[in-house]
Assembly symmetry: C2
Homo-oligomer: 233 residues x 2
DNA sequence: CTAGATAATACTTTATTCATAATTATGAGC
DNA sequence: GCTCATAATTATGAATAAAGTATTATCTAG
């Protein structure tokens, strides 16, 4: 894919990646103002590459640039989530459909192997590890779909979804439920039931949205103070 | 991405928009090298805002940044088109589905009014005007879907598709065929046949891909350069 | 005491300058 | 005469500086 881009990555890309991680970790929470010069001297670079990195992040939707006002981490509304999850269901559903049709027996075996950690970490109750294994499985499916642009679009939306806290898996029973959905999905794929796999993937995503909504409903949305960057050392 | 920028847009955004138009007009054709300093002094600005604009365009996929090598207008391969069009069919199909279900009678009337120019310009054989009217109709449908992120993703992909020449409508009979497809689509929407509208929209997009393929097959019987363009994020 | 206006401060934005890396051209050697 | 290596030129990438705009705080007037 990246034919000539094997050369050393530009500084602004490195910075963009580091900022992404800090945003995903909620070290830079949604709504937080991004202090350019503080961040620049923290990274030991000038503000120029930092600003270029912010342009990239803005195009990805992770931050919002307000002209003459500065840069803020994007805040997702419930409305946004209600828009994005069905869209992801559509796209990842298509992935499941295509992958079911195109996967070779060897690839099917690899996919099955990727499912095993899900079983293990669900049994162990390790939500973080389950989350990672879940991501790996979904990514593999996207790879098997064979459509680079489909994968790209899903990846972009997933980045945006990472703005929300990932603790929906800690909802009572959600881990087990998600595992059950994955079992059904894998079974449909292995049975070469493309339409079934698509439907199960869609249900899986929408079920994830429902879990998130339950979390948000439970947490009191009274005060959401958008604090600035938390100091950590 | 999208902020409520009622204030004056930043210079780099203006530059990005002007470059977009030049790219879409093929004044900067796919594969063309973008000369930063030449363009900067042509616009009477410094290289800094120009470079920031290029970062935005790179995130949109319109240009490809090769570290230490410069910036080039993205070239789409046939493979890319084979990936993107089915994806657009899926997304715009969903738009048609949702819009059919959600549109009020008044909105339905407005949509019907937007269809009229298509009839007129098809009869007049004005491919450019037909293209514009077609875009307007599709955008209205995306608006009616009520899903801002769906609209956003479609818009992003449409930008990329604008990298290709828009002369597929000049293919013998394509104008008439496209009109027929639109008639069927509108009829399904007005009949509140959401599934039918979705199917017709999907067929419409795939039909557009086929027309483009026919153009390319006719124009390039010799060697295809097929520079593959990788997307990064 | 409150509200509005002005001034000051701070941050974004753009420009200019400098350094580094890549490519091309020229010269020399085989 | 052709190929390879080295040097020079050009363009990209980063940093620093300067300017313009927005926001906030303070002071004055009603």
């Amino acid at each position: 894919m990246n034919s000539l881009n094997i050369s050393q990555p530009a500084l602004y890309q490195e910075v963009a990646e580091r900022l992404r991680l800090r945003i995903f970790a909620h070290e830079l929470p949604p709504g937080a103002w991004i202090d350019e010069q503080a961040l620049a001297e923290q990274y030991g670079i000038s503000r120029t590459p930092l600003r270029e990195a912010l342009k990239v992040l803005a195009a990805e939707g992770l931050v919002t640039l307000k002209p003459r006002r500065g840069c803020y981490v994007t805040e997702l509304s419930e409305r946004d989530l209600d828009d994005i999850f069905p869209l992801m269901a559509l796209l990842e559903g298509r992935c499941a459909f295509e992958a079911t049709q195109k996967a070779s027996p060897a690839e099917l075996a690899r996919l099955t192997a990727l499912h095993e950690p899900l079983e293990r970490h669900a049994a162990g109750g390790d939500a973080n590890a389950f989350f990672e294994a879940n991501q790996a499985f979904h990514r593999a499916l996207q790879e098997l779909s064979g459509n680079r642009w489909l994968k790209q679009v899903i990846g972009d939306l997933r980045k945006v979804l990472n703005l929300t806290r990932r603790d929906s898996l800690r909802l009572e029973g959600r881990l087990k439920q998600s595992l059950e959905e994955h079992r059904g999905l894998l079974a449909a794929i292995r049975a070469r039931d493309a339409a079934g796999a698509e439907a199960r993937m869609q249900a899986h995503l929408l079920s994830g949205r429902a879990a998130l909504a339950k979390i948000h409903a439970a947490q009191i949305p009274s005060s959401s103070p958008s604090r600035n960057t938390a100091e950590e050392s």
